[in-house]
Amino acid sequence: MRELAPWLALIFQRPWRLVLGGVLILATLASGIGLLALSGWFITDTAIVGILLAAGTQVAVNLYVPGGGIRFFAVSRTVARYLERVYNHDTVLRLLTDIRVALFHRLAGASRTGQSRLSGAQWLSRLTSDVDALDTIYLRVIAPAALAGVITLLVALLAWVLFSGAVALGLLAITTLAFVLATVAVYVRTREPSYRQADRQEELRTAVVEHIEGFAELRAAGRTGRHGAWLLRQAHQMNSEQVEVDSKVGWHQAISHLLINLCAVFALWAGYGLYETGAISGPVLVLLPIAILGLAEVYSMLPDAFGKLGSTVSSAARLNRDATPAGEQGKAEIPAPADDHLALVAQDIAVRYDGFAPILTHFDLTLSRGERIGILGRSGSGKSSLADTLAGLLPASRGELARQPCAYLTQQTALFDDTLRANLILGNPAATDAELWQVLELVELGDRFAREPEQLDTWLGNTGSRLSGGEARRVALARVLLNPAPLVVLDEPFTGLDGDTRSRISKRLERWLEGKSVISLAHGSEALPATDRVIHLE
């Protein structure tokens, strides 16, 4: 449950909104209970008076107060319900924004190792369902549980005033048991499978994504049927466990409802004792059991919410794990070189990931301003990790690094599900359309997008999937080229391009990068743009 703390803190940033929402729910519930209880009182009263009147006794009867009360509750229940739903859903949507933005900020500040642990499949799973789970925790769990408590206390107070302290205590004892069975007990009994549920789903998702990614290979081998059957079995098992959870929730719901009903029976029975001694009147005797029956409405919301709490906690735990803020080292700014003629100075750099052997040690590099160097190394030689370090994504575990501000083309092509323009201006938010077209011409995509009806506003689709690999790479390259930074680091800039295209772009690149310092990294010299010198990584 501790896992929920940071998210609860976020939710409780709007205390008055939550309280007002709660008060509206309370008004709804109280109106419903009031309507029935007052009606029961009224009917019993009129029944008794009716008999007296029929017997010819003169009795004064006030019809206006109960009649007015009944009408008031009928209207207030409707109005409160409507306002409550509108207001609280607005709250939920505000929380949804709060949570997503806060999570995004936290992820942006998270350590690199935290980020790199995540694969695409896990992203999809976690960030959608986990964040969704947290969105509704206020409306599903917090508000109903709190209000069940409040309304129970109000009914107990009523019992104390109208009946006796003993009846109020008895009522509290039974409703407390019902409350525990509908909340904590459900949570405890379903915690484990419910907690595991999300992990199972995540495992299944990984397997499904693998199945789809390997679909061609599996199909060629004639194995899609078998592998698919295996996936189906996994999904079915997951659902079976869920059925168990649902059943437990159902039983708890039934039993807590039973206890509420028994509580009403208890109140009626205990009330008779008081009635026979003349301590209470017949109408009052009827009022309390009916009010207690009304508690079932709020209690019935609880078991389901608490049955899902286990998975909500696991969602929060996963989000916390991956959004752990980075230490100071991760945030350190890289200083500019002391010497004005230099673009980058690396002295005795070591590159390693936390908990692993160093990938690269004793790396030295001095780059003059305007100089272009190439770094060659086979894959696995630590080339990309070195690029990450030089660009400042991966802090050097040892050594000194000083450099000018830099624009970095990562080995992975990362485009956004957004327009071409939005993708490009990330590199330079101030870039004009003319500049965008110019850089598109450079990477030979000018014609390609000039033909599109939406031109610069062409939607690049799912992670740029409407583009071929080579096209996507060139968009990413164009984005880096737009960036005004004086130092440019390019890791495998030409992946997916054929030789001719590569050499044409390479030539234009030389002119475009005139005056900038460039570090290019590649697996072979043919994949490098023009350089002044080349370093080999071993």
């Binding site: 009928a74 409707t78 960030l127 990614e213 999904a235 005797l285």
Partner: protein
């Protein structure tokens, strides 16, 4: 994908339930029995009050009734619990059926169509969208029937007690579905919109997070967060407009339920006082009056519960629409039909791959890729396909693999329809699953021995890597939190091909973007495979690979000719 009609989505949802009718019926039956127990409970409560307050019977003489009341309550709880269990079972079965359907569709659509979709989106449909059907079958569907049965039972009883009170209930009851339908029609459409917006929004969020490194590199995380907040807030404003209308339906229900209870209470009260001189009011007693009052909320409860489950229906319809759109996208039969059509023609030679006047147009494109293409590849040959990107090399490989079917003409692989016999496929991305090296290789060759697996891994130069792991081939592939490099992953795929010993091996740019070590291993492996008499067809720009080929074909703009 075009959105299917709502009518079709609803029919699809009904068809899914067809095989599990027993479970739905069981849930409805237990729900009905719980409803009857509720009625009995109210009868007993009213009876006890009447006897005590009006007849003045001592509580000690009412013990029997109290005991029966408690037993009734227990029975009611039992049926309530059973109802949940049966409904959950039903939903489980339905979800299995739905998943099976989607998977069958994937198989029909084939790897090329699948490759154009994001794996995440497809997985989401298979997992999350199917899960979204749960509430519909576990809650909405049984409740829909219960919301007719239970109110009718109560109505019948109230009618017998006091027909005028029953008329009040009856008057409000048909108005409720009417109003709900009116409001619901608008709300349903808006609800779907809501479903779409939320998935688009979470897509936006995911996308930003996925590209977080890029945003950080360009110093744009703040502006991305702002954009996220702005889009999210705009979405809130739009959605609230929708919800304000959608919630009217529950308000209407609430209003009628409240007013009906108020009217009945006042009617009974005045009747008991003897103020109402017409109708059955003069026969009212505290028993009948109180019973009618206690039953009135139970009359509305099933409908209120149903309206709470309405979002389950909306979720199922939203998810169902997307699933059905996918299922309709590539009708399950197209590929089979295409290959069956060409099946009765000549069988072709068992030692040749033949393309006989093959024409092919990519779905949705006007210009055909290949027109009347004729080609023969001899068994045991290594054939390289070159040509500019986008010239059709991959398409030709897909046709040979049977991943795409020609519009006309005939393709035979060693006398068989393409894809009929298992073959080796190596795409531009290697493919590995979470698990051990052995798991990964047994994926396509489940009966392979440890020795054979070890040998296959060594042939592609992964032997050292496996040796360095504690449990050899039984160690996880992506140990130590870091996966394989692109080259290593592709070599792993190649090891599968070695292990399985296929006659035909198709490779799409097997060395593109690889480091020299991986390149050498792949070249060597292909040479060995070719020497072993395997038929290799591969697309490449790579010089060393071209030298390996017995024949080099240029594929350009739908033309195939000898280089």
């Amino acid at each position: 994908m075009t959105a299917p009609e709502q009518r079709n989505v609803r029919r699809w949802l009904t068809e899914l339930a067809a095989g599990n009718r027993r479970w739905v019926q069981g849930a409805v039956l237990t729900g009905t029995l719980a409803g009857i127990a509720t009625i009995v409970q109210m009868v007993l409560l009213a009876r006890i009050v009447h006897l005590g307050v009006i007849e003045g019977i001592a509580v000690s003489e009412l013990m029997d009734l109290f005991i029966v009341l408690v037993i009734t309550l227990v029975i009611r709880a039992l049926f309530q619990g059973l109802q949940t269990r049966l409904a959950a079972q039903c939903s489980k079965r339905v979800r299995r059926t739905a998943r099976r359907q989607i998977h069958r569709h994937w198989q029909a659509a084939g790897p090329v169509a699948m490759g154009q979709e994001s794996a995440g989106a497809l997985a989401r449909e298979w997992i999350d969208h199917v899960e979204a059907l749960h509430g519909y079958y576990a809650r909405f569907l049984p409740q829909m029937q219960l919301s007719v049965i239970v109110p009718l039972l109560i109505l019948a009883l109230v009618f017998w007690l006091d027909w005028l009170a029953a008329v009040f209930l009856l008057l409000s009851a048909p108005l409720i579905p009417l109003f709900m339908a009116l409001v619901g029609m608008g709300a349903e459409k808006l609800n779907q919109q809501h479903f779409e917006t939320i998935s688009r929004l979470s897509g936006q969020f995911l996308d930003k997070v996925r590209g977080l490194t890029t945003l950080q590199l360009f110093g744009q995380t703040e502006s991305a967060a702002d954009l996220l907040a702005r889009r999210s807030d705009r979405y809130r404003v739009v959605t609230m407009k929708t919800l304000k209308i959608a919630f009217l339906s529950s308000a209407v229900l609430e209003f009628f339920a409240s007013v009906a209870i108020a009217v009945i209470a006042i009617y009974i009260g005045f009747g008991l006082l003897g103020y109402i001189t017409f109708g059955p009011a003069d026969e009212l007693t505290l028993f009948t009056g109180l019973l009618i009052l206690l039953l009135a909320p139970e009359f509305f409860q099933p409908l209120r519960t149903l309206s709470q489950y309405y979002h389950d229906r909306a979720a199922a319809l939203g998810a169902g629409t997307e699933i059905l759109a996918r299922l309709q996208d590539y009708p399950a039969s197209t590929l089979q039909v295409k290959s069956e059509q060409s099946a009765p023609a000549t069988a072709g030679s068992p030692s040749l791959i033949t393309l006989d006047s093959v024409s092919f147009t990519h779905p949705g494109e006007a210009k055909p890729w290949f027109r009347d293409l004729n080609l023969q590849i001899e068994k045991g040959h290594a054939v390289a396909l070159t040509g500019p990107s986008g010239g059709g090399k991959s398409t030709l490989l897909y046709l040979l693999a049977g991943f795409l079917a020609p519009d006309s003409g005939e393709i035979r692989v060693f006398g068989q329809v393409p894809g009929k016999a298992a073959f080796g496929w190596l795409g531009q991305k290697g493919f590995l699953v979470h698990g051990t090296w052995a798991d990964n290789l047994r994926l396509t060759s489940p009966d392979a021995s440890d020795v054979a697996i070890d040998a296959a891994l060594r042939r592609v130069g992964l032997g050292d890597l496996v040796d360095s792991r504690e449990d050899g081939i039984y160690s996880p592939v992506s140990d130590q939190g870091r996966g394989l490099s692109g080259g290593q992953a592709r070599r792993l795929s190649l090891a599968r091909i070695f292990l399985a010993d296929y006659d035909l091996i198709l490779l799409d740019e097997p060395t593109a973007g690889l480091d020299s070590a991986s390149e050498i291993y792949i070249l060597e492996s292909l040479r060995k495979l070719s020497q072993a008499g395997k038929t290799l067809v591969f697309s490449t720009h790579h010089h060393a690979l071209l030298t390996l080929a017995d024949r080099v074909l240029t594929v350009d703009d739908g033309e195939v000719y000898h280089a």
